[in-house]
Each structure stands twice: as C-alpha cells, then as structure tokens.
Symmetry: C2
Subunit: 238 residues, 2 copies
C-alpha cells in the first residue's frame, strides 16, 4: 500500500482541484478556468496549486484525460447493460451513449474533441493519447467482433487505394496483432463509421447545423439506422 497519510491528502487535493476546475469549466467555458479562481474557491493562493500541477496546461491536460476516460466508462456501461451476445444492440447502445455523454457535457466535449487550443502540448505519449486509444478500442472491438460473427459486406481490397491500404494495414497490425485474417475493408468501413459518428456529434454539440436543423436527434437516429444497415443490422432505431 503506497497510501501514506500524506499521499492520501495529496490525492484528495489533486482531485478536488480538478473538480473545482470542472465547475468553472461548466460555468464559464474552457477559457474561464483559471488557477487563481480555483485557488480562491479552495481557500488557497494560486502558487500553491503548482505543488499539484506543473502549470495550467498540465491541469487542462489532466482534465482532458479524465473526461476521455469518463466517456469510455459511459460507453462501457451502456454496452454492458445489453446482453453479451447481442452485439447489434451493444454497438447501437455504445454509439448512443457517446452522443448522450457529449450532449450532456458540452464543454468537456469541446476540450476533448475540439481544436487543441494551447501550443498543442504533447501529441503522443500522454495519458490523453492512451485514453483516446481506449475509446477507439471500445468501438473497434465491437465492430470487429460483429463482423467476425456475421460478416457484412465490405469493400474488397482491390477497390481500396494503395495509399489507404498501406495505412489500414499499419493500423491492423498495431491493433489486431498478427492474426490479420480480417480484410482491410473492415477497417476501412470502421474508419468511415467513426468519422461519420464524430461529425454528427461534433456538429450537434458545436451548434454548426442550426442553419438547417433545430434538433439533430432525428437525423442522428436516421444516420445511426443507416450505419447499422450497412453493417448488416436490420434495426438500429428501436
């Protein structure tokens, strides 16, 4: 047990800072997060926070990691609420959970999936990157297993551009390991599906579709249904 008294205190403060920061995020947006403001709420002075986070950027990074893992938790919970053999239902549930969490946590979504605002810190190697991988894996695992059990039609390798083929193969090797019996078309379709899902949710959260639709839910469900059809599920809406 590495839980000395001091370490427990420290971890508690570490967490408390992140929680207060989240309140500020929800109240005043990402740019409303300030060390001085957080310190004030905590009854401390700003420099004290540097004992816990090396900089404001560091805190923001930690927040992004937390939120990414939170989305994953929400998606896994939705997934596990469905029977293990109902892969169709699980995939739909995970997809809906992704949208629901994003709409219920717009500022957090903006931090995780929006433009990397600062002097873009750490593209690789961070916990953020790791958490991002976790989320992709949740989707991909379901997608891939679904194809394994009841293969749906995917574009044949010859129809995929060589340049794209090369990249898909790279991802396949890194993700599926050595058993590369899966055709690249599955991964090609997965990539397209993820992009489509991201676009749907991001455009809704950011409000960039207001010029034509007031409520995006019907379009989301329709698109989800469409996506479900292309991967062999007959019903995606019920």
């Amino acid at each position: 047990m590495p839980t000395t008294r001091r370490e427990r205190m420290r971890d508690a403060t570490l967490l408390e800072i992140k929680e207060v920061a989240r309140e500020h995020l929800r109240a005043h947006g990402p740019s409303g997060i300030s060390l001085r403001g957080i310190a004030r709420d905590l009854g401390m002075t700003a420099p004290a926070l540097y004992r816990y986070y090396a900089s404001l950027d560091d805190l923001l990074t930690a927040m992004i990691e937390t939120y990414t893992n939170e989305i994953c938790d929400a998606m896994e919970a939705a997934r596990d609420a469905m029977p293990a053999d109902d892969l169709d239902g699980r995939l739909v549930a995970v997809t809906r959970a992704f949208r629901r969490w994003s709409l219920d946590h717009r500022p957090e979504f903006a931090m995780v999936f929006g433009a990397p605002v600062p002097g873009y810190t750490e593209p690789e190697e961070g916990g953020v990157h790791q958490a991002g991988g976790r989320m992709g894996a949740i989707f991909f695992a379901l997608f891939f297993e679904l194809w394994r059990r009841q293969p749906f039609p995917v574009p044949p390798d010859e129809e995929i551009t060589p340049a794209l083929r090369r990249q898909l193969r790279l991802f396949a090797a890194a993700c599926c390991g050595e058993d590369d019996d899966a055709p690249l078309g599955v991964i090609r379709l997965f990539a397209a599906s993820w992009v489509r899902l991201y676009g749907l949710v991001a455009i809704e959260v950011f409000g960039h579709m207001h010029f034509m639709l007031e409520d995006m839910e019907p379009l989301f469900e329709a698109e989800l249904n469409d996506l479900a059809k292309t991967i062999g599920l007959e019903k995606g809406s019920a």
Copy 2:
C-alpha cells in the same frame, strides 16, 4: 460615394487590425490574439483599438466572418474553374476546395468550425450567421441542381421519421422557396453529406484521427468517391 478621406483611413486601419490579428492567430493560435499585442505591432496603444472594435470579442467575430467568406470565395473559385455544365466536377471541386482551405488555414478553421469559445456571442443575426448560410447555399445549390438534372435515388418520404420530415420541410421552405417539388429525401441526403464532409475535415484538421491514420487524404478521397457514387456520379476521384 461615402469615401471621405477619413472614412478611407478608417477602413484601412480596420483592415490592418484584422490582418495583424490574423498573423498572431497563425503564429500563436486563437488564444494568442490580444489587443495589446496587436496595438504594439501597429505602433499604437491598446485603448485606441476600441475606436475600431467594441471589444476583443467583436474583433474575433469579425475575423470569423471574414474567414467564412474566404472559404466561400475559395469554393466558388474552384467551382467556377470547372465548366458550368459539369455539375459533377463542380461539386467535387467545391468539396476538395473546402478541405484544402481548411488544411491550409487550420487556426482559422478552428475559429470558424470549432467550439464557440467565448461566452458564445450572437448565435443569430450576425454577419457570421449570414456567411454560414452563404456556404451552405453554395453546397446546396449544386447538390440540388444536380438532382434536378439527373435525379439520383433518395430515400422516400415514408422512410423518413416524421420528426425529421418536419424539420426538413421547414428548411426546404426557407431555402427552396415555394416550389417544393423536391422530395424531402434530397434534403435528407444533403444534410447527411454535409455532416460527413464536416466530420472528415474537422477530424483531420484537429488531428483526432492520428490514432489510426497518419495521412487522411486517401480516406478523404475514398469517402468523397463514396459520396459521389450515392448521388449518381460514377467517378469522384480522377
């Protein structure tokens, strides 16, 4: 002619401010834009800028409007570079122009299409909203005319959820005027296409696809090809 000497000077300064702001944007990101910094570069003091923009937010808003119109210009230029009767080629060109501009102007894209960072100023009624409408119109006009000339298969009205149907009808009325002979399926397909395109470009500009693809261009072209096929074009890549 409203161009008195003073007004010409004023407009020049107005523009110069926006240009220096853009330099800062490209050099240090959206959060690197500061009135004091701009004033310094201009050989002025910060409060002087308030003669031209009511606040920093106002300047940012003006920048967003400018950039949106710039995208439109780029798209129209790409469109008009193709023969007027080659609607297929025009649509593909416009789509590619949208991506190209976005990649060549990442910080600008982030401002226009990213999360609305500040205390979200003016959702409606601004020049920003107007420019957004202009961009949507460029796409839609091409999309719609293409369908008119050589109708491609669209989902029948009965297959569209009533809730979605209602909204599409609203947009059709506002956009196509009274000649509502176009089936809602066309608009339904347009909405889906726009979301898909947005997702592709946003995910590339923001770098959120690095976990699986290093270069998004092949996927973009493949998806563009796919989109082209669904609206009746056989070749979208050449």
